[in-house]
């Protein structure tokens, strides 16, 4: 099983623990990832705010490089990248004027885009290509007794995802259950974390993060599992401000791939867990094996 891989800026920066855990986990499952040659920033939400055609061209360069690299699907772990690349695919198909601009811009760089490379999220690939049965076979250290709140955030399920439900996604729930974890009922699973407003307008943005943390604590979660580098940063890096503004809501937030690595028995120090500001507590002790 082979995929092209688009890490995006965050997975090389503040969200590097996502890549540090994704790569060994995929390797462990026999999934081969080939990083796109000379990929560029997807444009995120900022480019769409400034210029529509440039946002389309920026994202399309990556799609065209992926087509050139081979027939493999493009794996995109960051939620913002996943949304932008899929949105651009839709826009190129739906709007002749965007299509024309993109074609012209790509032609100057000897690139082409035909739309044949699907942009996919690791959760989609893990559930639908790898399969939960294969994942289950790899679990050597079940996460028994670990209460996990599955937090999907906004941009992987809304509005372009085809692999899960926009209102009540369950792929991560099923994956975590396969790892042996106790999945906490978490109705805020697709609520917005505040995005970049946590830094720019904290009284509004950071409150959204605080609500997510408080609810996870109230429901007894030991840890929050996330799929997005910006969600992870917001839920992990603002606790001292949250303490000052409201009240402490301490719970660790890790990437779902880090929990997979732990369940597969991969060394914790190789899963980027030390990158957390609020550290995850050690896994609950394994029940003693009873000799028969």
């Amino acid at each position: 099983m082979k995929y092209s891989y688009f890490p995006g800026c965050s997975l090389k920066g503040l969200g590097r623990a996502y890549e540090e855990s994704l790569l060994p986990v995929m390797r462990h499952l026999g999934v081969e990832l080939a990083e796109l040659n000379d990929w560029n920033c997807c444009g995120a939400t900022a480019y769409m705010s400034v210029d529509e055609s440039m946002a389309a061209v920026l994202a399309a360069r990556n799609l065209a490089i992926a087509e050139k690299a081979g027939p493999e699907d493009l794996l995109t772990p960051c939620s913002a990248c996943y949304l932008v690349l899929n949105k651009t695919k839709h826009n190129i198909t739906d709007y002749p004027e965007i299509n024309a601009t993109v074609r012209k811009a790509l032609a100057g760089a000897h690139l082409t885009y035909s739309g044949k490379v699907p942009v996919r999220h690791p959760l989609d690939v893990l559930i639908n290509d790898v399969g939960l049965d294969v994942i289950k076979e790899k679990v050597v250290r079940p996460l028994k007794g670990l209460k996990v709140a599955p937090y999907y955030g906004c941009q992987i399920v809304r509005p372009y995802a085809t692999f899960d439900d926009a209102w009540n996604p369950t792929t991560m729930d099923r994956l975590l259950a396969t790892l042996g974890a106790e999945v906490v009922d978490y109705p805020l699973k697709t609520k917005c974390c505040g995005g970049s407003l946590t830094g720019t307008v904290p009284e509004a943005g950071l409150r959204l993060t605080y609500i997510l943390l408080k609810e996870a604590v109230r429901r007894g979660a030991d840890v929050i599992a996330t799929v997005c580098p910006l969600c992870q940063f917001n839920l992990d890096a603002y606790h001292d401000q949250i303490d000052r503004r409201w009240e402490p809501a301490r719970v660790a937030t890790v990437y779902f791939t880090q929990l997979m690595g732990l369940a597969f028995g991969l060394p914790p120090e190789q899963l980027g867990l030390k990158r957390n500001m609020v550290a995850m507590k050690p896994l609950p002790a394994e029940p003693a094996k009873v000799k028969v």
């Binding site: 503040l14 920033c41 100057g108």
Partner: protein, 199 residues
């Protein structure tokens, strides 16, 4: 002299054709089909901070109240979570309308000057245009410098946390084929085109 302020708009305050212009932006086609049900405002996690709710913005746009919407804080408080877009019973892509309004406000230079959100969008835009990639910590530092450098001091604990956990990349990220990307952007109208004029 008693200062007075008119609280209701006259028809003459409208900028004729503005609604149609926004409607012609990709993603905004269904603007006119809004039934003003308010589902967008109810589902928006940030509408409680907005001077006009998303429902009101849609009504104002299609009634040509350009100056009111472009100067509102609403578009800048939209976090692009797309909740309104998936909930809208009339299939209006409200998030895309917000993007069209942000672009318009930046192009016309009517956004609040030191308000960090449009400044972040512009700094992000510039960094990608020059380097092809984002180095998050450099972006954050630029944002502080251009908006409120005192706020940086208030975030010192967070900065230490980022360094302690080794999430800080000192190297400025960039792509190899920067000229290739610059050429593509010029074709899209960037280099000396419409977007740059506005910045």
């Amino acid at each position: 002299m008693m200062r007075i302020k008119r609280t209701i708009k006259y028809e003459g305050d409208r900028v004729r054709g503005f609604g149609k212009e926004i409607q012609s932006v990709p993603g905004c086609e269904r603007l006119q089909s809004c039934i003003q049900c308010g589902t967008c405002s109810g589902t928006c996690p940030l509408s409680i901070y907005m001077d006009f709710s998303p429902r009101q913005v849609v009504a104002l746009v299609r009634a040509d109240f350009k100056n009111e919407v472009l100067r509102s804080n609403t578009v800048w408080l939209c976090a692009s979570c797309y909740a309104c877009t998936v909930e809208c019973p009339r299939l209006i892509r409200i998030t895309d309308i917000m993007y069209a309004l942000k672009q318009r406000a930046i192009k016309e230079g009517v956004y609040p000057r030191r308000f960090p959100i449009p400044v972040l969008a512009k700094e992000f835009y510039e960094m990608v245009r020059k380097k092809g990639r984002i180095t998050e910590m450099l972006l954050v530092m630029k944002l502080f410098l251009k908006t409120d450098w005192l706020a940086a001091l208030g975030s010192w604990r967070q900065g230490i946390g980022v360094m302690r956990t080794g999430r800080f990349g000192l190297r400025a990220e960039h792509i190899e084929r920067q000229a290739e990307l610059a050429g593509m952007m010029a074709v899209a109208g960037g280099e000396d085109g419409k977007a740059k004029e506005a910045l």
